[in-house]
Symmetry: C2
Subunit: 328 residues, 2 copies
Amino acid sequence: MNEFELIARYFTRPTRERAGVGDDCALIDAGDVTLAITTDMLLAGRHFFADADAEALGHKALAVNLSDLAAAGAAPRCFFLSLALPRADEVWLAAFARGLFALADTHGCALLGGDTTRAPELRVDERAVDGPLTISITAIGEVPRTAVRTRAGARAGDDLWVSGTVGDAALALAHRSGEAAALDAADLAVCRARLERPAPRVKLGIRLRKLATAAIDVSDGLLGDLGHILERSQLGARVDWPAVPRSDALRQQPEALQRRCALAGGDDYELLFTAPASARAEVLAAAAGAGVAVTRIGTMTAHAGLEVLDADGALLDTTYRGYDHFGR
Amino acid sequence: MNEFELIARYFTRPTRERAGVGDDCALIDAGDVTLAITTDMLLAGRHFFADADAEALGHKALAVNLSDLAAAGAAPRCFFLSLALPRADEVWLAAFARGLFALADTHGCALLGGDTTRAPELRVDERAVDGPLTISITAIGEVPRTAVRTRAGARAGDDLWVSGTVGDAALALAHRSGEAAALDAADLAVCRARLERPAPRVKLGIRLRKLATAAIDVSDGLLGDLGHILERSQLGARVDWPAVPRSDALRQQPEALQRRCALAGGDDYELLFTAPASARAEVLAAAAGAGVAVTRIGTMTAHAGLEVLDADGALLDTTYRGYDHFGR
């Protein structure tokens, strides 16, 4: 049973709301607006290294939630923070709060509540070890009722787009584990920044209202997340691998690592979205307005299945899977 | 630095919303309604025993959030669940989901999203131990704009009320740790049910709209939680100890244990609220309509300070503190 099967089996039930379990955000109508709501939990040893920089962690914990709001085209409004701390370390807390609020302020997103708890001690034989630092954030954004966007609206023939570049965060991890070829210091710093301080594409998400027919943020890997759009929109897709935007740092790596990082790496927090071919100029204008590059990487198809094509039109192996917390 | 100081120092900032950090719920206006939002995180080894019954845990994890909505007078609408699981145990998950949805259905509160993660393994010397089961829920309710209620609205001369009985959950814990006098099986079962399956006072919370001037749910202990009302309303209070409602099980215990459980025990999830003396009949009618007993236990005073008086009018020791996650 993988993570998605687990959620489908135990926690997915019909709802009268616009969208619930299975989208980046839940969508509920309240008066004349629709609220987009998302929640993400980060655990030391699972989502970040135990020695991660506290300020970067404050940034990232909120960024991954704002990225979900961006996929829904929602403007961030407020968020809620639950923290389980191994101890009340003031230096750590001050740095974490600095990173958190710097990003929150950038997006006008207010911290309105939360829950702070000491992580439990775990007993191993006679020793006590601190439980992991755990950060859970719920973020709420607003989107006009007429501009609501989910993963389910793609249509056959739509272009498939992605923002920025993908694979850099995965390259930083590959470098850490010794799987990457040499990286110069500047490239490594860029990749680490992508991993540790992802920039949620909030502005782009808002500017794509009524242009993008479906969107998701790339958190588990491009192909895995594309799979969610295919499933919810009941379509297939053809992806042009050479078009997939990669940084110079990633392009210097062996082809196999490039593919793994860009197609299955995850932690990119770019927007993967679909839009009618007739809207290409508007999509590019929206991206320019948001200050983010976007690249057309494929087409949505009426027949099911996901094909990734090489430069010569040959099919690539597409067995890359997104990250599954219970699959490994 | 205790939990409340930590929150005040690092995570409390001004907001333009109706209420933020420091109330049971945040309150944000959306269209013609006000949304009340609350979040609570429960950790194995801290908030519940590692061997806790899964179905009861599903119930309680949602109940503590619905209890916060009840304090705000909000009608539950939806909730979000983040889970960190040591493993994907299907028997456990099915039971947890059963307890969760049984309570959710009772209150028409839909699960709309969440995040499911495998808890990280922690390394101790050469051994790997599972991280703790962690449950974080954010619940959202609605309240008419004209009926918004916080901890801050109490007035001098208001009656102080509490619903149900207090101290039973603490008595169950005291029994477990061998501190309680003998309890017969039926009484013990009642106290355990209070601890494991608290009934959030949602109906009462709604019926007290426009009657209660301030409210809080008793989660950290009656006097500690009353302290939050005093602080936010800038008042004092006089509490009549003999009037504090206790179960027959608790009344059979030594007086010192009764006081500790009822005044500082916590985990009661009763509503502690203030209302004008002129509204006594209406408060009693609201409670009758909600099927919950309420008891008048004191008076709000213009001078600061919290006094607890015995039957003969003597001051009791009121140094009982609420539960503080970083204080022990």
